[in-house]
């Protein structure tokens, strides 16, 4: 009986395992394999093993470290802003008010748009000569002449973060709102009747009870942000000030056709994201056990 059930279980799992092997495990293994070779993209079957040399090449490239720094700054700042804004907006939407359903649907619009479209729209709005943003700022008297938001190296990363916050905050709102709605109303009523002030209810009840939901949202967003590609690529192409790890790996692999170094870069990206994920997940799990 037991054996039969196990067999059936494996049969059900088989399609998924095959699919995972085909689209995840095999490419990953190939990628790591090529990291140790000097293959080029124009003729990938002609290669020899070079040990860890590609990994060293990547580590010695200051552009790579710039990309790592950009990615980490982008991830940290954008996820932090999105979490704060998301939590605040979720708290607002959690209150019942007339037209809440409409507002809830409306705030999803940025998230529903493809990132490339959003990036293009914002690129136009941020245009230093014809852009809406500069026009508005000049009209309001904040600026004398337009700023090159997407060209100025000192502004580009900030602009990227701003757009990402605009696009992704709705996602945070939705996940955190779902968490808030799991908290029973009577708990708040109990606290209210006992004379617990509103700030204390937020700090000691809402926040700890919403933490699992916020944690999951932060995890999702962090993973997404760490492998961010499209936004920076559309907005800044190969501007080193906005280059992410993914763009770096793509450049090595596609632009420079260097399969070996590109794969090594991809492997580094994979390892860095993996490390951060493991750290985050263990923090979250720790929290769940004590919470």
């Amino acid at each position: 009986m037991k054996n039969r059930e196990t067999t059936i279980a494996w049969v059900f799992l088989l399609p998924l395992l095959l699919a995972l092997t085909a689209v995840a495990a095999w490419p990953l293994a190939r990628n790591i394999y090529f990291s140790f070779t000097d293959a080029f993209l124009d003729n990938p079957s002609d290669y020899s093993f070079v040990g860890f040399q590609n990994f060293v090449t990547v580590l010695e490239d200051s552009i790579f470290w710039g990309a790592v720094r950009n990615t980490l700054v982008f991830t940290l700042v954008s996820v932090a802003l999105e979490t704060l804004l998301g939590f605040a907006i979720a708290l607002l939407l959690h209150r019942a008010f007339a037209g809440r359903g409409l507002v809830r649907a409306a705030i999803l619009v940025p998230w529903a748009m493809p990132m490339v479209v959003s990036a293009k729209i914002w690129e136009w709005m941020f245009n230093d000569q014809f852009g809406l943003i500069n026009k508005a700022l000049i009209w309001l008297g904040f600026l004398d002449k337009g700023i090159a938001w997407t060209a100025d190296p000192s502004l580009i990363l900030g602009t990227v973060i701003f757009i990402d916050v605009w696009v992704t905050t709705p996602f945070m709102v939705l996940l955190i709102l779902a968490g808030l709605q799991l908290i029973p109303e009577e708990i708040y009523e109990a606290a209210e009747v006992s004379g617990v002030p509103a700030w204390k209810r937020l700090w000691s009840i809402t926040l700890p009870l919403a933490t699992p939901a916020i944690g999951v949202a932060v995890l999702f967003r962090t993973l997404d942000a760490l492998r961010m590609f499209d936004l920076s690529y559309v907005l800044a192409a190969n501007n080193e000030k906005a280059m992410t790890m993914s763009i770096y790996a793509r450049d090595q692999l596609i632009s420079f056709q260097d399969l070996g170094v590109g794969s090594a870069a991809s492997t580094w990206v994979f390892l860095i994201i993996g490390l951060i994920t493991i750290t985050l997940v263990s923090i979250l799990r720790l929290d769940r056990n004590t919470g």
Binding site: E186, A190, A191, V193, S194, K200
Partner: protein, 369 residues
């Protein structure tokens, strides 16, 4: 300790009137129970007093001070919820002392109060546990402890025992009664369980469709119900009713099975319903005079009491309750039902009770069949 006064309190949710002009005085130190069927507005009324639900109209006063617009957090009352509403992420000790943290109280004082409450409710060994590690009864104790610890002047209980099993409910009922004696605070308690209402209350408030049907001590309500609703609501099994009619002179009442009842001085109060409590009825031989006849359907033996079901007509089944043994008649046997004249209740066409007990002496004169 505090008195509570409600003046013409009404509450509507949209077009739906939940409370309709409620007037009520709860005295200092009193234990008052709101009871009524589902949807009668009893929980809403309690929430109005707590300040969790704003009134649509009327005035709420606690201790002589109007609090109609005072937020719940400033009313100084304690509320015990049916769901217990414990903070799931805090242990028992913090659940109880949480409200004190912001009340500018020293750690020592908080500790002292916590210890006292824990001792009172015998939950000292649970202080480190999380709510999910507690049984229903333990959670209820913690919820009560949380109410007790702030030493409020007014306790509000919203069906606190309805999630517990029968044994625990009885135990907690006793504990709450004891608590009321020890603490001496005013308590208002909502329940749909008439046993809780009867056993706990100094006074019972019976609500129906957002209106107060009657207020009084359990004994008053049971013996002198103001109307058919109250008469039918209290008592288990409920009071037996049957349509009745008086003659033109108001002297003779005709009831089920064609029996007639001579009631002197009934005068213009035309009864349309008569009621008899199950324990007022006695099963006798159908040949006896002065009884109404019915068909024995079945008997339920609960050990400490027996309940017999007697069919009077197609759509009327009366119950008879006896602490003794009801003879096991075969189903379908014809039997007679008899009662003492003073046990009869009469209601008019507006379902108001016609007072007959003290001044009138009804007597069965015979069966006209």
């Amino acid at each position: 300790m505090a008195s509570v006064t409600l003046k013409e309190v009404s509450k509507s949710f949209g077009a739906f009137d939940v409370l309709r002009s409620i007037d009520l005085d709860v005295e200092d130190g009193e234990f008052v129970v709101f009871v009524g069927p589902s949807g009668c507005g009893k929980s809403t009324l309690l929430r109005v007093i707590a300040g969790l639900v704003p009134v649509s109209q009327g005035i709420v006063s606690i201790d002589g001070e109007e609090v109609t617009d005072v937020p719940a957090s400033k009313r100084g009352v304690a509320f015990v919820f049916q769901s217990y509403a414990l903070y799931p992420h805090m242990n028992v000790a913090r659940n109880i002392s949480f409200a004190l943290e912001t009340a500018r109280m020293t750690k020592a004082e908080i500790g002292r109060r916590l210890a006292k409450v824990a001792d009172m409710l015998k939950i000292g060994h649970l202080l480190d546990r999380k709510p999910k590690q507690l049984s229903g009864g333990q959670r209820q104790r913690v919820a009560i402890g949380r109410a007790l610890v702030s030493q409020p002047k007014l306790f509000l209980f919203d069906e606190p025992l309805s999630n517990l099993d029968a044994d625990l409910r009885m135990e907690m009922r006793f504990e709450i009664a004891k608590l009321h004696t020890e603490v001496g605070a005013t308590m208002i308690y909502v329940t749909h369980d008439q046993t809780e209402a009867m056993t706990l209350a100094d006074r019972i408030v019976i609500l129906n469709h957002g209106r107060i049907e009657q207020v009084g001590t359990p004994r008053e309500l049971y013996d002198h119900p103001a109307n058919k609703f109250v008469a039918g609501f209290l008592g288990s099994p409920r009071m037996n009713f049957a349509p009745a009619r008086s003659d033109e002179r108001g002297r003779v009442i005709t009831g089920p099975d064609g029996f007639e009842l001579s009631i002197d001085q009934l005068r213009a109060q035309k009864p349309t319903t008569l009621g008899l409590r199950p324990e007022a009825l006695e099963i006798v031989s159908p040949d006896k005079s002065g009884c109404i006849k019915g068909i024995f359907e079945r008997v339920e033996d609960l050990g400490y009491e027996q309940i017999a079901y007697i069919r009077l007509s197609e759509d009327t089944i009366w119950t008879v309750r006896s602490g003794g043994v009801i003879p096991a008649y075969a189903s379908g046997s014809r039997i007679g039902l008899r009662w003492k004249p003073e046990d009869i209740y009469l209601f008019n066409d507006k379902d108001q009770r016609i007072e007959t007990r003290s001044t009138l002496e009804p007597a069965i004169v015979g069966i006209s069949r």
